[in-house]
């Protein structure tokens, strides 16, 4: 039997599942991935930022159909001028966004590497079933599991079926390339796709009890012949267009629905 103090929280969760989704936060690591969607949804940049002074994080916001949409991009590194990719930035902007905006749902969208041995091709759009890290090896019992950090994405069977997206496990690490040890961990994670942010977004979403989904478009084949960085840069523009189409379809599907309808 559940202790009595759990009841209000359970009731709250039940109500949230039955209420139409109102506010969504879309976390996107790269400007090239974010801007087409900002234009598509006709969002405005939040110049009086909800974030602290001095951080490069950018929020684009607006109303689209019945949704309050926030696209959060961690911005350019203040010294080096490149997109603030990776798990540290992703976790910080996810945390700050949830604190400021209290979203009903987080969508982490972005490009990713894919494994052809697991059925991925360049241009494919995947929805991650679960996410884990592949570069946090801590060979002490239980800490090893903490390092892997396996978490489930929100289950969205109707979304998957309607949009006919591919499904696969997502593995996250802070390197664009992989080392043999990373590769062994990716195999242990049964991953079809590989990115640099997903498991960090999932960690924070789980910590703050916000459901999250992961929409990833394949720019490069990790187990292929081409160097990852070359293939990534070559395919970025075309694949970003496919990603943005997919995210638009996902947002259209979400509109007017509650979490349990997804």
């Amino acid at each position: 039997m559940a202790p009595p103090e759990d009841k209000p929280e359970v009731a709250e969760e039940f109500m949230a599942e039955k209420r139409s989704i109102s506010t969504i936060v879309i976390i996107i690591a790269m400007q090239a991935e974010a801007l087409p969607l900002v234009n598509k949804f006709q969002l405005k940049e939040d110049l009086d930022s909800v974030f602290p002074k001095g951080v490069p994080w950018v929020r684009y916001y607006g109303t689209y159909k019945d949704l309050n949409i926030n696209i959060i991009w961690p911005g350019k590194d203040t010294v080096l001028g490149v997109d603030s990719v990776g798990t540290v930035s992703a976790s910080l902007v996810t945390y700050a966004s949830v604190q400021a905006l209290q979203p009903d749902l987080i969508i982490n969208a972005g490009t990713a590497g894919g494994f052809k041995a697991k059925g991925a091709s360049v241009g494919d759009i995947f929805l991650a079933s679960d996410v884990a890290f592949h570069d946090r090896r801590i060979p002490i019992p239980v800490f090893d599991l903490y390092g892997v950090g396996l978490r489930q994405a929100l289950s969205t069977p109707n979304l998957l079926k309607t949009l006919n997206l591919k499904v696969g496990k997502l593995s996250t690490g802070d390197s664009l390339e992989t080392s043999p040890k990373d590769e062994a961990s990716i195999i242990a994670n049964h991953a079809t796709i590989k990115d640099m942010e997903g498991a960090a977004v999932a960690y924070v979403a789980d910590l703050l009890k916000v459901p999250a989904i992961f929409v990833k478009a394949i720019t490069d084949i990790v187990d292929g012949d081409k160097p990852t960085a070359d293939e990534f840069l070559q395919n970025l523009a075309a694949v970003t267009a496919a990603l943005d189409q997919a995210v638009t379809k996902v947002v259209n599907f979400i509109n007017g629905k509650c979490l349990s309808d997804l």
Copy 2:
């Protein structure tokens, strides 16, 4: 010539350097490292937490001499029950602590691996001169530098001289063990010591313009014969005692001084 709008900020920074340090935040990843210091400074746990509901982060606080001391420990993983080590947790608690407490100085204290080839021995206490990541390999120009994320610690020549601490470069990664690629990056970082949080704390401190120092005690020799995890666990208790003595000396030295006196 600096544009006129820069002047108030410069003046503010100058004033901060000339004002006695009042509030410090000490970020410590493991409970075993934190609790002896909590007792030493007679700190209390903040039960009405400055952090959001549901996160495992713990703040111990109190007044010691003329200082408001906050020891922040990211707590036990809510599912697995192990200390929330690594860069994602460290960056989140550093961010949330700075937002809530506006400290004058951050001290990241903890155990670390050391390289005997660079002069480190088990039990040594190091102050890091600078910090960088060794597991964020992004082989695209400028992104490569972003991945390494090299940052200087606050320069503290008087502290170093008075306490007779060792100085070395600190390299951070999310694995307790290392891979050959990690090792190559650690060598490229000229690191004497290796931890799992420092560069993430430095990243957030830099983002939010709070000076930070890094006090690290050597539990294991990375370029030695013993497996890291075994050596780490074997030496943790004894080295933690040495770490706590060193942090106490650092705090005593800081008391009553301004940043520029350090």
